[in-house]
Symmetry: C2
Subunit: 306 residues, 2 copies
């Protein structure tokens, strides 16, 4: 019997439990608070970190999030397998990024304004076709964005550490090529995780390297962005529009100037919600590997941070 501690957001507990029960997993016992013989934890990193010291038999933690920062603190134990959620957020992130892009390019707000005063106003709209999108990070989420961009007839550039595995990226850039990657983009999307090497990677220099009028999306982690450099670039119009789902400090404090920076959309870390159905399916797949001693999917390297 394998003891599983289930630790999603409290309001989701029942939903997760029902889904796990209907999956008919073999040799499993589910508990909702830490007991000494728990082998597996499935839940949110921010909750798991609070009870990490109470589980001497811990073998495996499956995170319900993609980002596992709370568990990466070097002072914490690392004597277990940590797997994160991957593959489930790509489609949701595409909906988010292309939802906002189309909202902006197709001028939905201007149309609403016209409608309020019963004005028939054939607003001239733009199109995504032919535009160039640059993905800072091309993992499973970046690949999904690349696929949607290709579907809409866009050019796709990718900046990665080394990998060139996504077929929908037209051209790859690495290492010192960051500024040449940036210089022809209509839209820059940051998808990078929070690691030591991604801190402030979107800084004044990178923003200035983007063409006048470019758009910027941050759906990776807030730590990757120099927020004050962005406020300045938005103010001057050099960056025409920005959508920020993640911020250096969350929740973003009410007094923060970003709330009312020019042409910015703040979306409160909701771009790719964790749907219990997706995460239980992912857990079930990994659990079946766990009990048959196969290599788990989506193992996090504690040093790389992803």
């Amino acid at each position: 019997m394998h003891k599983l501690l289930l630790l999603p957001k409290r309001t989701d507990f029942k939903k997760y439990l029902d889904l796990l029960n209907s999956a008919n997993l073999q040799a499993i016992e589910i508990v909702e608070s830490p007991v000494s013989d728990v082998e597996i934890v499935f839940g949110e990193p921010s909750l798991i970190v609070q009870i990490l010291g109470e589980l001497p038999k811990l073998k495996w933690v499956q995170s319900t999030w993609a980002g596992v920062e709370p568990l990466l603190n070097p002072a914490l134990r690392r004597d277990y397998l940590l797997t994160n959620a991957r593959g489930v957020f790509g489609g949701l992130m595409s909906e988010f990024v292309f939802g906002y892009l189309l909202f902006y390019e197709r001028k939905i707000l201007q149309r609403l304004d016209a409608q309020r005063t019963s004005r028939w106003e054939p607003v001239v709209t733009r199109t995504l076709r032919g535009k160039t999108i640059g993905l800072l990070g091309v993992g499973s989420i970046g690949s999904s964005l690349a696929s949607t961009a290709t579907h809409f007839g866009m050019h796709v550039l990718g900046y990665t550490r080394a990998s060139e595995t996504c077929l929908h990226v037209d051209k790859y850039f690495h290492g010192k090529e960051l500024l040449s990657f940036a210089k022809n983009l209509d839209i820059l999307v940051n998808v990078l995780p929070n690691t030591p090497s991604t801190q402030n990677i979107i800084n004044k220099e990178l923003l200035e390297a983007l063409p006048e009028g470019a758009y910027f999306f941050n759906v990776g982690r807030g730590s990757a962005l120099d927020e004050y450099a962005l406020i300045e670039a938005l103010g001057s119009g050099h960056i025409a529009m920005a959508v920020l789902d993640v911020l250096a400090q969350e929740p973003l404090p009410p007094e923060h100037p970003l709330w009312h920076a020019k042409n910015v959309y703040i979306t409160s870390h909701t771009a790719a919600p964790s749907f219990p159905e997706d995460l239980v399916a992912l857990f079930v797949q990994n659990y079946n590997k766990f009990i048959t001693n196969q290599m788990l999917d989506y193992i996090v390297n504690f040093d790389l941070g992803y």
Copy 2:
């Protein structure tokens, strides 16, 4: 020498002329007002209809629009080839329909409200994945919508006269199956042209056959919709949201109740703008067929109306 009368919207004339000139077409002379030896007209049906009687040598009209209603009046001459614009609007229409769908499902307006008062508010959003979209008409525009819907993980049903050519449609319905087509849809999109058999096809009965809370898009023609039946269905909440790009009367008069019906978006016939680049490319292709006596693309059947 073939004489071409160029009749786009006045403000676009120069743009069209430049594009045609740089295409280096053989044996062509371009004029901007009707003279008796004009063989070809390339422009907007609403302008062409005004000079149709002044062109005794007319052989071919290439419309810059998909809809050619002004030229279909049975009282008008039909002794020439009429070709419309097809193939160029599919991608633009996908941007429009999925732009509005994502805008609504991902609750962009609610997020904007939260931002106005500097509120960090993780709005729970919905997803397109798993939803069912029904296409009333599956020609080149419907096929493009089907392809985008499939990309976002949706189920696609199609209602057509007879054809079943689009690979992205999961299930087809025909003839008397209209109400069974409607009964499981989350979203109904009308893409039908204006023909005698499509008048008021979206009526009270069809709207009632849709599940409670369905969305409705009209990007075909206004004549296909019973607008008062829709206003009632929106008022009761049976239809949760509607996007109307085309209306029975355009411009929609300022006093029309649709402007302020519940949860309706009126978009002033701008879903798929005619970009001169696209239409000149299409004309050039057809012109090369014309001068070599090949069958033209996109010939309209005056009786069917498309």
